[in-house]
Chain length 343, copies 2
């Protein structure tokens, strides 16, 4: 994401300092995951990782004139985000992240759990870096950020619960999926866009406009990602076509289809998701159920509403025209309008 790339990189110098306070390889593992070093703890030429969240924070902070003052919070959010990924990789048994082996894959599950924990502690320590802002304002931000971090752990809880609940369970609803996604993904993007107005001491309305932008952008992005997980072209996504169906992920389309299919088809869909590993034939069958219930349109429509809400929130911001235009461009870049390919 070139639009915010230069802002994101500003946290790296500070992060390095936080991660090198001791020689223990524990810190090396964290620096590896943050993308500063390779698995032998030798520096890499260019940090791996897109730094989208700190980039967004600093871009907005800059337009409020508090770029430098927002760095500790930007650092905290990026460190927190990476902590969640270290533990996600453990529970998902993912062996690769950003094209490199994951922490548990290289050093084992025990170290990966502890390294994630150590990294979470650093996410809080990052906030202790002194700035020129009034102490009460930093305290307000800190309390707020911590409660957002709790929401992410609630989202992770909901994700595990949804993943292990059968498709025919009455708790598996579109609302349940959206609430999980809000907490697991969108609230951290909301926190990201709330940091600068809180630190700048802006009005409640302004903080809410920025927060609504972030949350809706986060939702739209995740739904776009879900769309790619089913209908994305492998040459674009680098992933298997319909991969999320093979993985039986309970994203919106399958929940939508289950709710709108006639009883016999619904039973078949539930059986497929409750049964054996899916193959090309059964995945095609699922895709036909999706087509029957216009599940793709439902997903695209839902993503479009969140995207439209994000754009609407930008219009409510008390920010320079130039910044608002940039946030719009970022929104379109993250969530392209989906054009259904005719086959």
């Amino acid at each position: 994401m070139n639009l915010i790339g230069t802002y994101g990189a500003r946290i790296d110098a500070r992060a390095e300092k936080l991660f090198t306070q001791s020689d223990y390889p524990l810190y090396g593992m964290m620096r590896y995951f943050m993308g500063y070093v390779d698995e032998h703890f030798n520096p890499v030429s260019k940090p791996v990782g897109k730094r989208i969240r700190p980039g967004l924070i600093l871009l907005i902070a800059d337009s409020y004139g508090i770029l430098e003052e927002a760095i500790p919070a930007a650092l905290s959010v990026e460190i927190f985000h990476n902590f969640t990924l270290i533990h996600d990789d453990v529970v998902d048994h993912d062996e690769l992240r950003r094209g490199r082996p994951t922490v548990w894959k290289l050093w084992g599950v025990d170290h990966a759990i502890n390294t994630g924990d150590a990294q979470l502690i650093l996410a809080f320590r990052a906030l202790e870096e002194p700035t020129l802002l009034p102490a009460e304002r930093i305290a307000t931000l800190r309390t707020h950020l911590l409660s957002r971090y709790s929401e992410v752990s609630e989202g992770q809880y909901l994700d595990f619960t949804l993943a292990t609940t059968k498709l025919d369970d009455p708790s598996v609803t579109e609302r349940a999926y959206l609430t999980m996604t809000e907490k697991k993904t969108a609230k951290l993007i909301r926190a990201t866009t709330e940091v600068a107005p809180i630190l700048a001491g802006r009005s409640e309305e302004e903080i809410e406009a920025l927060g609504d932008f972030g949350e809706n952008l986060g939702m739209a992005y995740q739904l776009y990602d879900d769309w790619q997980g089913i209908w994305g072209a492998p040459e674009k996504t680098g992933k298997k076509r319909a991969g999320d169906i093979y993985e039986k992920k309970k994203t919106l389309p399958v929940i939508h289809a289950r709710e709108h299919l006639a009883p016999a088809d619904r039973q078949r869909l539930e059986d497929l998701y409750d049964g054996e590993v899916l193959n090309e034939d059964t995945v095609t069958e699922v895709l036909e159920f999706f087509a029957k219930t216009e599940a793709q349109n439902a997903l695209i429509g839902c993503a479009a509403r969140y995207k439209s809400n994000a754009l609407g929130a930008i219009a409510r911001m008390n920010l320079p025209e130039q910044t608002r235009a940039l946030l719009e461009r970022i929104t379109h870049a993250f969530v392209p309008d989906i054009v259904i390919e005719s086959r």
Copy 2:
């Protein structure tokens, strides 16, 4: 521990509030582990857990006249301590804790990892509770406590490393064991005894005296626990005799024996720790190596030195005679003088 029990219980009302901000069972799992509810999330008559750390904090805080003001920090330390146990149980595959099934045993490893993470976040949120103390003093305490929390994760790293390194490796030394124990266990007790003098704005010397007391008490207690793990009577410990040998734990006695045995015996000891599961015969052989090198005396001597340092630190404290006498009684209760039973 009756000596501090009533102080420790003071955090429970506040903790309950922090753990009930949402209905999600995620918080139920944390309340379960903290001992407030059973596995169906129904209240238990009396919280499980000894609350030693918050008890110590509040006992000292009370003698400085800041009992109420120290509650958020006492809460944080207890929540942090319990977070470490939730993840410890995962990596150690322990099925029972305080006589009840562990979190991973009841709800699976994924939930246990996430519940620990959520609990760690609450350990920081506990510190956000407002008190009447000046903001800078609370900030000083917070920064200090966070760096102690990092040390615990360093200790966990060192523990994993020591556990997976062969006994004949040159890095396996008494010093390495003591450093690991300092970080993993003793620094959190040090933090515990440092909280009150920091919050009370006491001198560096006073903070150091209290901290030295805590750290040495923590070390002495751990070494006493290690002694029990080998020579403790099963009817007292509730554990298998010589359990730490069966588990091939690299505590001081085996490191001491390895360093002091003649080459042939040393080789045999290394082979035993590097080979098959130990049985009654081979454990007896190990115990004979310990006897040959007076490993028990070495351990007892080491524990006694830390205990003596803890008692010496009490003498340096600027606290009422009554409080110092209580801290001495606590020290003797935690670390009884070991009398070797003649067989």
